[in-house]
């Protein structure tokens, strides 16, 4: 099992000291490879960006280095010595700190207490020197340029401030390697500027920073080198100044569009769903679009761009604060999913395990859950009828199972997803919202889904398809909308939507340090 006895060569790093080397890092989750044979060297005193699409493997790699996950294969070397990072605490002791996307802290403890977490003087019963903790916390926060009462509990701080506390903790721990996973997402431009200033200062002290971000401008402004991941592979490591934005994007998405996705013919009818000025503060803003009968409208963007929030708002799971939804030209009020179902909407959610299936209940019940009147015409459930209906769906959708009485949790992801789609097809929906319908579904079954989605549109249904897989999105959609940071940033006709154009619209373009003044 110990795969790699590779010696790390001095040749590539002749001029610079290597802080951390990864050799052959591979990671599998439940048999699926999410990271494959990644070799990467980080220099001491550099800021190194990890770039890639959602699911490309960059966060997984960061988590392996930080001890959150253990690699299935491969080795890590710190200052040329092999290390085993068994836990985040072990990483901390080795001088590696990960700052998470969502700050993890103890909300009921004060800022200074959170800053002191994980510190251990080896005396379990030793006295806590509160005054000292407070003094240290104050000086750390001052270093970050934040004026805040360090005795305040974390709860109630903005995400940005919590993030700053995490960064302060990394500062305090004297880490040699600080990994920041999308640290700027919640920050204001001014805070981003502060963060960048500190990052540069840390680099000049000889520490290394790994910076994960989707924002090319930030990467360009801050990072010395970039490494690009795609589909679990490391594609390239290059000095930032040697790459153009277009080159970076091409490297991020540069895979061939798979041929098995059928192009379906479209005959679009009148408008089935019209969304006007939909806004939910903090999630999405002023979203307007239309879907016609027989049309598949793709909704692209990065994870967290607000796509799922829009879908949930339309379906009434978490309704929008303002804006209107019109079905077949009639403005309707959708306050809960039941209202949406009554209007002929159907929603296959992204989070199948929680929002889709009733895990312990029989497949048949899962399939008929949205059509009570069909299985109980007079109020009492007719089990024979239910079985017939369920078996009919099983046959049509080619769901592989032992018995319709089998708990749905025993089926594979793809077959569970088929059952959820079958549930909605029984309601004869006019408008289908599919949120990442092929996530966690094997390749073979994916092709079946593509065919089904095409056939559903061909039968005159309007379809909103959310997908993070660009080839899938481009091949299936008649039109592609793109969201970025809660806004619609792109609307491409079938011919105009390319991986590059969609990706350009999806990558947030916020003013960053340097540009900020120039643009203003």
């Amino acid at each position: 099992m110990s795969a790699s006895t590779q010696s790390i060569g001095g040749q590539s790093a002749a001029d610079r000291a290597i802080l951390l080397s990864a050799r052959g890092i591979t990671k599998q989750f439940a048999g699926v490879e999410v990271l494959r044979d990644v070799d990467l060297d980080l220099y001491a005193g550099e800021i190194h960006a990890l770039l890639g699409e959602n699911g490309a493997g960059k966060s997984t790699f960061a988590k392996i280095v930080a001890g959150v996950h253990r690699p299935s294969r491969g080795v890590l070397l710190l200052n040329n010595a092999r290390i085993e990072v068994l836990s985040p605490l072990a990483a901390q002791k080795l001088g590696i700190t990960l700052i998470h996307q969502e700050p993890i802290s103890f909300p009921d403890l004060s800022i200074s207490e959170n800053l002191a977490l994980g510190r251990d003087d080896g005396k379990p019963l030793g006295r806590v020197r509160w005054a000292e903790l407070k003094r240290e916390a104050n000086s750390l926060m001052a270093q970050l340029g934040i004026m805040i009462d360090v005795t305040r509990p974390m709860r109630g701080l903005s995400i940005a401030d919590q993030q700053m506390v995490e960064i302060a903790r990394a500062l305090a721990s004297e880490s040699k390697l600080i990994i920041m996973d999308e640290p700027t997402a919640p920050l204001t431009p001014k805070e981003v500027e502060t963060l960048f200033g500190i990052s540069r200062q840390l680099r000049n002290e000889g520490r290394s920073i790994v910076f994960i971000s989707h924002r090319l401008e930030e990467v360009r402004a801050l990072c010395d080198r970039v490494t690009i991941f795609r589909d679990g592979n490391k594609i390239a490591t290059e000095e930032t100044k040697n790459l153009t934005d277009a080159e970076i994007i091409r490297l991020m998405i540069g895979r061939e569009v798979k041929g098995y996705i059928p192009k379906h013919k479209t005959t679009v009818g009148e408008v089935a769903l019209a969304v006007e000025g939909l806004t939910l503060p903090g999630r999405f803003e002023n979203i307007s679009f239309e879907i016609r009968k027989g049309e598949i409208v793709g909704l692209g963007g990065l994870v967290g761009a607000g796509r799922t929030d829009v879908a949930r708002a339309i379906f009434g799971v978490a309704p929008a604060a303002s804006g209107t939804i019109a079905v077949n030209g009639q403005v309707v009020e959708i306050r809960e999913p039941a209202d949406a179902v009554a209007q002929g909407l159907a929603f296959v959610p992204e989070d199948r395990a929680v929002a889709g299936i009733f895990r312990t209940l029989p497949v048949s019940q899962n399939i008929t859950a949205a059509v009570p009147e069909m299985i109980a015409p007079k109020g009492f459930i007719r089990h024979g009828l239910e079985r017939t209906i369920a078996l009919d769906s099983v046959k049509k959708m080619m769901i592989r199972l032992v018995s319709p009485r089998q708990p749905i949790g025993e089926l594979s992801g793809g077959n569970q997803q088929k059952a959820i789609l079958a549930r909605w097809l029984l309601t004869d929906p006019k408008i289908l919202i599919l949120d990442e319908p092929t996530r966690g579904v094997d390749i073979g079954v994916k092709a079946e889904f593509y065919e089904m989605i095409g056939a559903l549109a061909a039968s005159g249904r309007a379809i909103l398809l959310i997908s993070s897989e660009l080839p899938e999105l481009l091949a299936l959609s008649d039109r592609v909308l793109v969201m970025s940071e809660g806004q619609l940033t792109g609307d491409f006709a079938r011919g105009d939507a390319t991986e590059e154009s969609v990706m350009h619209a999806a990558v947030p373009r916020r003013k960053v340090v340097g540009d900020a003044q120039a643009a203003a």
Partner: protein, 330 residues
């Protein structure tokens, strides 16, 4: 350098033989305990053979048992209501006070039922609209409703009800006391509702996954609200039955009853976290409780021991229920 991959999902055969499926039902354990209790009881005392004696003693427990039937639905839906005993007391005190103040007894009964609706609706409002955990809400209201009953009735007991009203436990139909008859009738009705209707099906689905139920277009809030209101109504009815049986009402009516109700539901194999359970289980568990309490009384076993036995039974039943559910899950 080996990683711990999660074990691949076991593909268990879904169609188990019938005998195994039956044995794996959580109510089976309750039934076994019931049979054992009857045998032991018969050995301990000859009184015990008399069915009418058992039915008579069942009247003492019928109020809690009736409430436990509705509570079963609430627990299957993934919620809990700990306030029914207090609702019994407050609605009964309202009834008593109204009657004493000269309100016609029929109207006083209506007032008590309406108060049940209001109390149940208040619980439901707090849980479903303010999104507070039902455990916390109903611990709060159980204290508050009991407190209101005390304010209303003080330390006195209200009595002097007309003779037609009191002694419901001594009236019989075909040799069965009326409260027991109500219990049996309610069991049948609720078993039909839970086992054969869409409403029953949706209660299970909500308890299995509330999020998935909502996404499937099930009106989760409406159903749960209705269940909380039903708790109020059934508590008020049982408050009246208790008042009739005791021929008087005090603020401490049914004191501590909430735990006995939950005990019955859990003894019957209903899963405390929702999604699983049956009316049949609660029905059997109610009789188990009657048999044990009566059996121990006729066998001259002091009341002090009864609590211990009940507690042990509950633990046995929880262990077996858990075992069965975790088996079925694997």
């Amino acid at each position: 350098m080996t990683t711990n991959l999660p074990p691949s999902a076991s593909s268990q055969d879904a169609s188990k033989p019938l005998w195994r499926a039956t044995l794996m039902r959580p109510e089976t354990m309750t039934l076994v305990l019931l049979v054992a209790a009857i045998i032991v009881g018969s050995l301990l005392s000859r009184f015990f053979d008399s069915l009418s004696f058992i039915l008579e003693s069942a009247t003492y427990y019928s109020e809690f048992s009736i409430v436990a039937l509705v509570l079963t639905l609430v627990i299957i839906s993934g919620e809990i209501d700990l306030s029914p005993a207090a609702m019994m007391a407050l609605s009964a005190c309202l009834f008593g006070s109204a009657f004493q103040a000269g309100v016609p007894i029929g109207l006083a009964m209506v007032i008590s039922i309406v108060s049940g609706v209001v109390m149940g609706a208040f619980n439901g409002f707090m849980v479903l609209w303010l999104r507070l955990p039902s455990l916390m809400v109903t611990i709060g209201t159980l204290t508050m409703y009991r407190g209101l009953a005390q304010i209303l009735a003080g330390d006195r007991s209200i009595s002097k009800f007309p003779t037609w009203f009191v002694g419901v436990d001594y009236r019989e139909l075909y040799g069965v006391p009326i409260p027991v008859l109500i219990f049996i009738f309610a069991s049948i009705v609720l078993a039909v509702v839970l086992g054969t209707t869409i409403l029953g099906r949706q209660i299970y689905q909500i308890g299995t996954s509330e999020v998935a139920a909502r996404y499937a277009g099930i009106k989760v809030r409406r159903i749960k609200f209705m269940l909380f209101v039903s708790m109020g109504v059934v508590s008020a009815i049982c408050g009246l039955i208790a008042t009739s049986r005791l021929a008087s009402v005090r603020y401490d009516l049914a004191s501590g009853g909430e735990l006995q109700m939950v005990l019955i539901v859990m003894l019957g194999g209903t899963y405390i976290f929702g999604g699983r359970g049956t009316i049949l289980g609660t029905f059997i568990a109610s009789w188990l409780l009657v048999i044990i309490a009566t059996g121990m009384t006729v066998a001259d076993i002091p009341v002090t021991y009864q609590l211990t036995v009940m507690g042990l039974l509950l633990i046995v039943s929880i262990i077996s229920t858990n075992l069965i559910y975790s088996r079925n899950q694997a």
